[in-house]
Point group: C2
Chain length 431, copies 2
């Protein structure tokens, strides 16, 4: 296998860890045209696009109650039970992210605090294609529900027969979503951005998608709609010491590699036997995967690195800022303090990335492409905004009034000063 | 005074509250050229731009220790004391935003939690121009310091004599910033985005600025650098009942109006006497302001509205989603639950917006332009990212393994399933 690096010195890391250059097609004009068409023709444009892009005839964009009931009956009890357990765990983890308001008296008589409010209208985009991502419905709909978003709209492309995958519908209704629309691609994002007869304009758009969807989300921001995260291909970085299980490491690396041909996988081992055995295991396991064509291409973009210590591996990991970081090492908790950049971290031999992808409770919408340096993954915070509130008493304004007056004057903002001076004067006059 | 509306019906609100259309010049090409020049010529480009745009000759972009010492001596003891008190309050409020990690056991043996990590390198932009915004230095540098950002870079344009306003330098050093650069405008944002010989490339850029800076921050995002907030003109909405003091209301409205000609001020009163007296007071106070030319233009964009009740006024306020909301009403706390969209809220007659602008402790970098619907203001959260961490025991994976297997299989992701199956099998085999 190529892409093997033994004990690389730090000055080579940048080149070694270069992410595969994204083929950035200029889709801006194409997507802009889609936006204009949706703005102009509304639902009619969406129905037209469904014929063109999804090869599907849609009479009614809104999924009907009957379709949902049918889907609920369609999903196997086994899958339902699995989705239910995942939902429960995701709910527990995200509901714990609710922030308690704490009043802070910064100066006697000056009380400040923050309160969270749900973003009122949110749009969730769930792609179609090879994998029906009902797990992403859980990851977005559950925190939206906990936040108390008034309107949660789900858009997902129809299959050729005009239907939606039953697992997606089952999961959506389980999470209280009733407004599900058969719209995919850039036109779905356009509809959520500008609104149509049936699809309401939203305040924030969430969810993964192809290059068109990504470009559309960027365009949505120019219409003052917020988005969850900038997009990029998925990644995992696995650090293994002598304690690691090569079979498990290989499986974890492959579970990332099967995502897409642009997925990247970085493996760092400190033990040469573990390293070699993992490489062997990868070759063995990849052969048996239904998506092995995809995985093999992804492995080409990947890196297999031998290093001297877990500490050094973590330095490299922080430099790379991986979406997922697996620490298949002894006493992994000892190293947590050293992690500065990562989307989500998995500790020890029995914590596969798949757990976080589906059912442990953490969110799988995470910063990719090095964005773990400057972005958090999706959480309850993504569905609320925090409002600061303050209440100042007469004593309070007397305690900080002078300070405000001096600062406002020094910035040349007389009216700012005046707003305080008039109050102080009225208090001096005993009004 | 024009722009007066009495008891407008809800169907007129949208038109009534339309924000003044921003003159969106297409600066993209201009700013893109600046980025390319900075990328190519580094510091030399910055020195050239300083001559061109700031009319200043700069030998050394980095502010020297001597310049800082000189500035510290220059600032009056009175202003120093004011800045110190403001700093203390802002520190108290923001340090209380530190999040305690709480481990959640979502299923027996499955433990998940979040930890915050500082964004390593942040750039703070402080504009020059008519007002030396040292208060903005406090608002950005204090949470950066609490978060523990390793590198905090401040850029601010030089005055014509090549110096920086002493209050800005004093405040920066007070907040532990040592890397202060004499660079302004789009070129400052470009330098923070691509890096030069003296200015490090950062992960996130904060701070206000003119149209060029705004465009540059948008462009920075295309280089994978994060930004604090989308930009827009400043706003206040004041709700007054019979309990309000017209003199104070007028002063608060004017303190917003003096910010810039594009500032917007909305006044809603439920009492006709208070309403009329406030209008009279505005006319009286505005005449005496040094920035009254600016304030008068801003007042043209403003709205003065009579409504039936505070509840109705709050509905309108939520619709508008103001950056600042002042509740000059009796028992203002009773209405907090009804506020859904606002950047920062000020309660009662002795809580002027100026308090939050300078010294009460809350942050003054807030969502404008209706972004209070979908964005929070700057807080400690803006300087950290939250990493999720999980640790699953052998029992844990046995408890949720089946669920993951079923879900992964249903999404057609065999390798995801495999990562769990191999572990479950090894446990069955008693390894």
């Amino acid at each position: 296998m190529k892409n093997i690096f033994k004990y690389p010195t730090q000055n080579t890391w940048e080149m070694l860890l270069k992410r595969p250059a994204l083929e950035k097609k200029d889709l801006r004009n194409t997507v802009q045209d889609i936006f204009l068409k949706v703005k102009e023709d509304g639902d009619a444009a969406l129905i037209e696009f469904a014929i063109k892009f999804d090869l599907a005839r849609i009479d009614n964009l809104l999924v009907s109650k009957e379709e949902i009931e049918f889907a609920v009956a369609e999903v196997s009890p086994e899958l339902k039970a699995a989705i239910d357990q995942a939902k429960e765990n995701i709910f527990k983890f995200h509901v714990a992210q609710k922030e308690q308001s704490v009043e802070i008296e910064t100066t006697k008589g000056v009380i400040c605090w923050r309160e969270s409010r749900a973003i009122e209208k949110v749009g969730l985009y769930i792609p179609g294609g090879t994998a029906p991502l009902f797990s992403t419905v859980l990851m977005l709909a559950i925190p939206a529900q906990i936040a108390g978003c008034k309107e949660v709209i789900l858009c997902t492309p129809p299959q050729k027969d005009g239907s939606i995958n039953p697992a997606i519908l089952y999961t959506a209704q389980l999470c209280g979503i009733t407004k599900i629309f058969k719209v995919g691609g850039a036109q779905a994002v356009a509809a959520l951005t500008v609104g149509t007869e049936s699809i309401p304009k939203v305040d924030k758009i969430f969810g993964p998608g192809n290059q068109y969807v990504t470009q559309a989300k960027q365009l949505a921001m120019e219409y003052n709609v917020a988005i969850d995260l900038p997009a990029g291909p998925s990644e995992v970085l696995v650090i293994a010491d002598t304690n690691a299980n090569p079979e498990f490491c290989a499986a974890d690396l492959l579970s990332q590699a099967e995502h897409g041909t642009d997925s990247q996988v970085i493996y760092i081992a400190t033990d040469e036997d573990v390293f070699n055995n993992t490489l062997m295991e990868i070759n063995k396991q990849v052969a048996e995967l239904p998506r092995n064509e995809i995985a093999k291409i992804a492995l080409e973009n990947s890196r297999f690195i031998l290093m001297n210590s877990v500490e050094e591996a973590l330095e490299m990991s922080n430099f790379y800022a991986s979406e997922h970081l697996i620490l298949a090492v002894e006493n992994p908790r000892n190293y947590i303090g050293k992690i500065t950049n990562a989307g989500s971290v998995f500790l020890g031999n029995y914590t596969p990335e798949s757990a976080g992808d589906y059912a442990s409770g953490t969110n799988h919408t995470l910063p990719t492409n090095g964005f773990a340096k400057n972005y958090s993954g999706v959480s309850l915070d993504s569905f609320v905004k925090k409002i600061t509130i303050q209440e100042i008493s007469k004593t309070g304004i007397q305690n900080i009034g002078k300070t405000i007056e001096i600062m406002a004057a020094a910035e040349g903002l007389k009216a700012h000063k005046n707003a305080v001076s008039l109050r102080l004067k009225s208090l001096e006059n005993g009004i």
